[in-house]
Amino acid sequence: MAPVDLAQNTLDGLMIGSSYALLAIGFTLIFGVMRRLNLAYGPTIMAGVYLGTAAFISFGAPSLIVLAIVIIGASLVGLYVERLCFRPFGEAARTASMVASFALWMQIEEAAMHMLPQHMNPFPPLLAAPPLEIGPLMLRADHLIMLAATLLLAGAVTYLLARTKLGLAIRAVIDQPRAAAIVGIHVERIMMLTFVLASAIGGFAGFLIAATDAQVTAMMGMWATTKGLVAMMLGGLGSVRGAIAGGLLLGVLEAHAQWFLGPQVRDMVAWGLLFVILAFWPGGLMGAKALDRTMAVGRRV
């Protein structure tokens, strides 16, 4: 394989991987505070995106408005999921809450299909510009914007977590929820806020993806859940940095797999990778230390 192809695939992979990274961050935040997987996350994003799409189709809303609608929509649906699937369930019923989130997945997807029955719908594109050419490499301008936006958002999230009081509270709840309660942190409120924040981030990711594709399909919910989950697991459950790394890695691996083996194998890559990692290195990229902590968490699930 020519080095140009290698570089091009890697580049493409990083672009798409950045959206996976955002999805994974959302999953990770929720998993971190709730100690459970939110399987309605993908559909939550899809619902937000569909709301934006409806606004675009019905009223020709401009991109920025659509973005706002998507983010707010995803946040509201996320709140709904949190209330129904996570708030009512305590430590003892973790299984039940995960399955409940699966149930809401079905519910939200169907509701979204009622909103927009077509399998494929148009979405305001990010940028209508010709692709850039850097030497032999082709770079789509809108992909570049997506990558930049992702990095910005990831940076903002990291900043929030590392340097703000809210971030401290979120990390405390993720780290040791009982101690968080003892120092006076309102744990339930933090959980809810994190949930909504994660949903908003997901909405942003969904917007970016839909905008670079200039379309939205009914498979979005499933897609977002799949990629986000795998990226999160690749990077090691519960680590924001791992989520970003996992997302980027997944993107790159998929891009290469598609080049060599076709689109179906590309989809298999995500799952195959996940399976292999779970079978041999459940700790993901972040290694053994994360494994110990997350195994303890995972055991409780």
């Binding site: 009081k165 509270a169 009982r178 968080a180 120092v183």
Partner: protein, 244 residues
């Protein structure tokens, strides 16, 4: 200052506290002794709001705090140094202290307090950018106490601070407890180390199987009897253990 009346706390069907009444006088050091499984930690968690009692009342400074959330209770001036320290292992020492001051709004004063903690606990200052999970047991205990103090509590609850620590460190901890009390902090202390506890306590209680079985001043009971009851239960029970 702290008034506990007839608290019943249960885990499902099992009643861990069967009607506990005690009080911690303001400005004093009150100790709670008793064997493992007596319910001491359950009581601490019930007071701090982590567990909700089924019956009974808890009053702090005259205000009813029964069943309130931990964050509301912290706002009223109570701080708990929990059993097993429960530091935030993935956060640095400095962040742990910041977390302790979570409810405070005076950022400048918080920074001053953090420096004060470093002055009082120099080993924490050395390790302030280290992850709390990597500290030794004694250092984590210091950190847990310092973290609790960051909220400038009126009353400090300590659940078995000497557990698993070397005698020198235990002495240091109790010295600090004494100092804090002299500064005006009310102390309510659960302990297994009867000897040290009786040295500092102004008043103590014995608890067995979810009930308070003795209340008095150190000296009222001979120390060895206290030790026996704290580790083995009342003399009646101890002999029935012998006959099986």
């Amino acid at each position: 200052m702290l008034d506990v009346q007839d608290i019943v706390t249960a885990y499902g069907k099992i009643e861990a506290l069967k009607g506990v009444s005690l009080a911690a006088a303001e400005g004093r050091i009150t100790c709670l002794l008793g064997p493992n499984g007596a319910g001491k930690t359950t009581l601490m968690y019930s007071i701090a709001g982590v567990l909700k009692p089924r019956r009974g009342a808890i009053r702090l400074g005259g205000v009813d705090i029964t069943g309130q959330s931990p964050s509301a209770i912290v706002a009223r001036g109570l701080a708990l140094v929990p059993e097993n320290r429960l530091v935030f292992p993935q956060m640095t020492v400095a962040e742990n202290l910041e977390a302790g001051a979570y409810q405070r709004r005076d950022a400048a004063e918080v920074a001053v307090d953090i420096e004060r903690m470093y002055a009082r606990f120099p080993r924490l200052k050395e390790r302030r950018t280290q992850l709390a999970g990597t500290l030794s047991g004694g250092e984590q205990q210091m950190l847990a106490v310092a973290r609790a103090l960051m909220s400038r509590p009126r009353i400090l609850l300590l659940d078995e601070p000497s557990l698993g620590l070397a005698p020198l460190i235990v002495e240091e901890i109790f010295r600090i407890v004494g100092e804090l009390n002299k500064d005006g902090v009310t102390i309510f202390l659960v302990e297994q180390n009867v000897h040290m506890a009786l040295k500092v306590a102004h008043h103590f209680y014995l608890m067995e199987q979810g009930r308070v079985t003795f209340s008095g001043e150190p000296g009222k009971l001979a120390e060895d009897e206290v030790i026996q009851r704290a580790y083995l239960g009342t003399s009646r029970q101890a002999s029935s253990h012998k006959t099986g």
